[in-house]
């Protein structure tokens, strides 16, 4: 199908984009890479009357190391992270990008767009919760910084106000042993289940088993105890609350959770 008509605006600054969002209200939407939004507009699942293109706002496409932290600008593309040399501390970010769609999606899709879209299986959403990221947003009243765990609130629902823009995602601590793995029926599809672990935190985060990226404290406790990795997988599988759905039974999701968490822990232990 073809998208419904809209007026196109090109923002030149964060304050300009925020001003337009405040002025145009619910009829306006921001577009970054367009890799989720244009598909939704082609289906007419979204029909904004105004589109505010933020892709040319200067300064939002950099990755900066600042002490222990890594600050990733909202407009940094998946492919830029995939090919960046982030050193051992944040290699999990680069490595995880191969799971995000396909190369031609990754060349345009952005970190900020993924976080704002908030698909509960999206790799960026898992990574943000895994690494205790802070989502830095700017609105008419200025900047605020939201912990990832509070940011994701439900199916495609976040703490972002309609007149706020994500400007940056801040990863506060190195995670040299963190890993992410997943399973999808076809390479490049959104995962049925995705699992990310960081033994040093410790954190176990799952995608595809809840409405938001889900931390599993029961599995984190087992991970911290340093016992056999299979027990971490077992604990995660036991802790989740999943139902039979078309395409994936509860039994299947649980089995995937067990396998993927175990696999992610095994990988983490080799580091």
């Amino acid at each position: 199908m073809k998208p419904a008509a809209f007026t196109y605006h090109r923002a030149r600054s964060v304050s300009g984009a925020v001003g337009l969002l405040a002025e145009l209200g619910d009829d306006a939407k921001v577009i970054a890479g367009g890799q989720s939004l244009v598909a939704m507009m082609n289906f007419r699942l979204a029909r904004p009357e105004h589109l505010i293109d933020i892709a040319r706002i200067p300064g939002l496409d950099t990755i900066v190391r600042e002490g222990d932290a890594l600050r990733v600008g909202a407009l940094v593309t998946h492919h830029a992270v995939e090919t960046a040399d982030l050193g051992p501390d944040f290699r999990v970010l680069s490595e995880a990008m191969r799971w995000v769609g396909h190369l031609p999606i990754r060349t345009r899709g952005t970190v900020g767009g993924s976080i704002a879209h908030a698909d509960a299986t999206a790799e960026w959403c898992l990574l943000a919760v895994l690494l205790d990221a802070r989502i830095v947003v700017e609105g008419p009243a200025g900047r605020r910084s939201i912990p990832a765990e509070e940011f994701f609130q439900g199916v495609f629902t976040t703490a972002l106000e309609p007149d706020e823009l994500i400007v940056e995602v801040e990863f506060p601590r190195p995670a040299p042993r963190a890993t992410l793995t997943e399973f999808a029926e076809r390479q490049g599809d959104f995962a049925i289940v995705a699992a990310a672990v960081d033994p040093d935190a410790p954190r176990v985060v799952l995608g595809g088993v809840a409405q938001v990226p889900l931390r599993v404290p029961a599995a984190e406790a087992v991970l911290a105890a340093g016992v056999a990795v299979a027990e971490v997988g077992e604990a995660a599988a036991a802790a989740i609350d999943v139902r039979d759905e078309p395409g994936a039974s509860a039994h299947y999701r649980r089995a995937l959770t067990r396998t993927l968490v175990t696999r992610a822990c095994e990988e983490a232990r080799t580091r």
Binding site: Y8, A39, F43, D53, P104, R108
Partner: protein, 160 residues
């Protein structure tokens, strides 16, 4: 409410001044407003890759980009590969030699995907090529011959 906007596109080195609706996607502009019908369109939601073109050298889905977003960018389509006299490029010749196409519907997308990928990763291994080839759909070949064609092109370019 069908506003018209002036959009300036550079396609295969040539400038086009267009008066179009902002909702026009790049693939529709290429095919309908500029008349470059080599770029195909299948699913219009990013799955099939038939619409893949290069934007500033990087492969992108032309169905998931509004033309207005890529003003000032260098856009390249399949029409840019062959010489003006019709002589096929090395990549196109390898697709032909390895039977990397049957009906040909997916071919422009695969060619531009491979062209963009090899420019960035000239030393790509066959496994990496296989993973990138998985970006697009082909209902005819079974992909193996496409992987062979891209790998052969990469090897030939490396040997100079």
């Amino acid at each position: 409410m069908s506003e018209i906007q002036l959009v300036e596109l550079t396609v295969n080195g040539e400038r086009h001044d267009l008066a179009i609706e902002p909702r026009r996607t790049l693939v529709d502009v290429l095919r309908h407003d500029i008349g470059l019908t080599g770029t195909h369109v299948g699913c219009e939601h990013g799955i099939c890759g038939a619409c893949t073109v290069l934007v500033d050298g990087a492969p992108v889905r032309a169905c998931l980009v509004f033309a207005a977003q890529v003003e000032d960018a260098d856009i390249r389509t399949v029409e840019s590969l062959a010489e003006p006299d019709g002589t096929l490029s090395d990549l196109q010749r390898e697709f032909s030699a390895h039977h990397g196409l049957q009906c040909g519907f997916c071919t422009p997308g695969f060619l531009m995907l491979a062209e963009g990928f090899l420019a960035e990763r000239p030393d790509a291994t066959k496994e990496e090529i296989r993973e990138v080839v998985a970006s697009n759909l082909c209902r005819c070949t079974g992909y193996q011959t496409i992987v062979e064609a891209v790998d052969a092109c990469a090897a030939r370019r490396r040997s100079g």
